[in-house]
Symmetry: C2
């Protein structure tokens, strides 16, 4: 059963360009992982929004997601720490569409 | 240009059933608004996730969203206060899909 990773980011304004550029490489890595289906990367319209970037990605199941997570979490956390980015990721089920 | 509302909720565990039931009515209201395109309501797989519900809804443009917001914000905030729910909504653009 597919799962949705929603990753909520608070990125310091001064670091936004570097964060977005870094994400291009993250995206390249993610799309090569087994079980990845698709993703949408959102940027808040108002610069001052608490969560100024949100990533929504669909994976085939929880197991493939966690396998991909293991290959990327260490360098990802290092970079986010360097940029002062707060990240809150979690896996979700679609409760309903409307 | 379409905009995406992402609304991140922290719902106390004991209030989850009531929150989900209340959302059925919210959904009915939203889908009747002019300019609403579609929505996806997510529930975290792990009960202890910081944001245990996330709503992602697509609207035709910012203007129609704010018009709909005005019709629903007052009763919505009252109910969320009663349930002890913390909500962080913001409008987003899709930066890229992958």
């Amino acid at each position: 059963m597919p799962v949705t990773l929603i990753n909520v980011f608070s990125v310091p304004a001064a670091k936004e360009p570097e964060f977005v550029q870094w994400w291009q490489g993250v995206k390249e890595h993610i799309t090569k992982q087994e079980g990845f289906i698709s993703g949408t990367f959102h940027n808040s319209i108002k610069a001052e929004s608490r969560f100024n970037f949100i990533n929504v990605a669909i994976w085939e199941n929880e197991e493939v997601y966690w396998k991909a997570y293991e290959t990327s979490v260490t360098p990802m956390k290092a970079k986010l720490g360097e940029l002062g980015v707060e990240m809150t990721p979690a896996l979700y089920r679609v409760a309903f569409e409307y």
